[in-house]
Amino acid sequence: MDLMVIADNMPAYLAGFRMTAQLTIVAGLGALVIGLTVAAMRVSPLGSLRVFAATYTELLRNMPLTLIFFFAVLVLPQFGVVLPLGYWTAVGCLTAYTSVFVAEAVRSGINAVGVGQAEAARAIGLTFGQSLTSVILPQAVRSVIPPLINVIIALAKNTSVAAGFAVVELTATGRRLAQQNPADVVLVLAGVALFYLVVTIPAGQLANLLERKVAFAR
């Protein structure tokens, strides 16, 4: 056991952490955009869009992320689409996979607003736009934020799957360092775990805190 093994490899850890953070942020933003679009389709009055959004959600939600990576790396080339292996493939897969969970969180947030709220808003003569922006969305956003944070936490952990598909992020860094330092495997991987926990635990606490706040505000 040699604690120096973590200090010695700090540059590698930090590079891995940066890649994990970058994947999380880029894929997270992409997933927010697509997820909001899908959620909007899902609650729209247009039946065909609802069906499309529901199918998209149901398909991606029930497939493992590994299968989606598998599709992008090994199946898409058969369709003549060859993605650059590594970073952008990972961003695409993580975005597609996470967008579904964003959409579900947003949809249930909108549905969690009591029907009476909108009815009351219409009864006092607010237009659709007014009732949406000053009555429904403020309440929906509040109950959507905690589950959304949990979705992003799950995304941060899911970036590790990219380690299996030629992206050197935290988990892949850990695997490489473990193979280089066979005497200190436990320590090396504990170092990797620490980098994940630094992000996931505070974010989880924040989600909890906000959730409790929302529960009181109701």
Partner: protein, 293 residues
């Protein structure tokens, strides 16, 4: 979701209904057009040619269709289900124990249980599989089981905690009043009720566990994905589309049936037990339910 319960709109009148129908048809045509362009492009690349799909009914290289399907369903899916079947009961048992330890009066035990839960919930399953593989030197199968078990055990402990917290306080007070010990209260009064309301969340977590077993592909456990890849390598890359379609179909069928089961359980608990707080309600769900994917 029926329109009548939507927060966003009034029940539409005849004019709005006609407009919606037109919009729906236009939107539908747009989606179909996009899918059509994709399919046309794929057909141009020969994706739908029969010989590429023949691997499913009349494979080349002197193999029978039975061999292919056996390798996918018995060997591949079998290995996936075996990992889930070993890990799920373990995770459930350890999760229950952790949740109970978290409610004991001994502060050190309580803190230790919380630390274990927070730790394993915050780490990627894949990292824990690598940990077992590289640090303990375990086999790929054991590593998959380890990763699935410790992660899901922590999530299930959270689900159980939420289920116990959702019970009315009167239940444990009444149990104490008739002289039951803390252990008896948990075993005879609280857990039977909580487990009922938690059943849907637990089944949903089983879907997550099953999906995560595909990480075995990365750590070298020969499960369903590996079976697809092996077949694709043997029969040539052109067959990968057909094989992938089957694999994705298997995952969809298994997971959607499990999700349906969860929904049905949810409907059932709502009817019979009518819990004060529905832990499984969609929306701002308990923590365990939303972090699991």
């Amino acid at each position: 979701m029926s329109r009548a319960t939507s927060v966003l709109y009034d029940a539409p009148g005849p004019l709005a209904r006609r407009r919606e129908r037109i919009g729906s048809v236009v939107g539908g045509l747009l989606v179909l057009a996009l899918v059509g362009v994709g399919a046309w492009y794929a057909a141009g690349r020969g994706v739908f040619e029969a010989d590429r799909w023949a691997v499913l009914w009349d494979p080349p290289k002197n193999q029978s269709a039975l061999d292919v399907w056996r390798s996918l369903l018995v060997v591949g899916l079998g290995a996936t289900l075996r990992a889930a079947a070993v890990a799920a009961p373990l995770a459930l048992l350890l999760g229950l124990v952790l949740a109970v330890l978290r409610t004991t009066r001994l502060a050190p035990v309580r803190v230790a249980a919380s630390v274990v839960i927070e730790l394993f919930r915050g780490l990627p399953v894949l990292l824990m599989m690598f940990f077992a593989l590289l640090a303990f030197g375990w086999s790929a199968f054991a590593a998959v089981i380890f990763g699935l078990t410790v992660y899901n055990m922590a999530v299930i402990a959270e689900i159980v905690r939420a289920g116990l917290a959702a019970l009315p306080k009167g239940q444990s007070e009444a149990a104490a009043a008739i002289g039951l010990s803390r252990g008896q209260t948990l075993r005879l009064v609280l857990l039977p009720q909580a487990l009922r309301t938690m059943a849907p969340s637990l089944v949903a977590q089983l879907v997550v566990l099953l999906k995560d077993s595909s990480l075995g592909f990365i750590v070298g456990y020969s499960e369903l994905l590996k079976a697809i890849q092996n077949n694709a390598q043997y029969f040539g890359n052109a067959s990968v589309v057909a094989l992938f379609t089957v694999g994705a179909g298997i995952y969809l069928v298994v997971n959607i049936s499990l999700s349906r089961l969860a929904l049905r359980l949810q409907g059932r608990t709502r009817r019979t037990a009518a819990p004060a707080v529905d832990v499984t309600a969609p929306g701002p769900a308990p923590r365990g339910a939303t972090t699991g994917h």
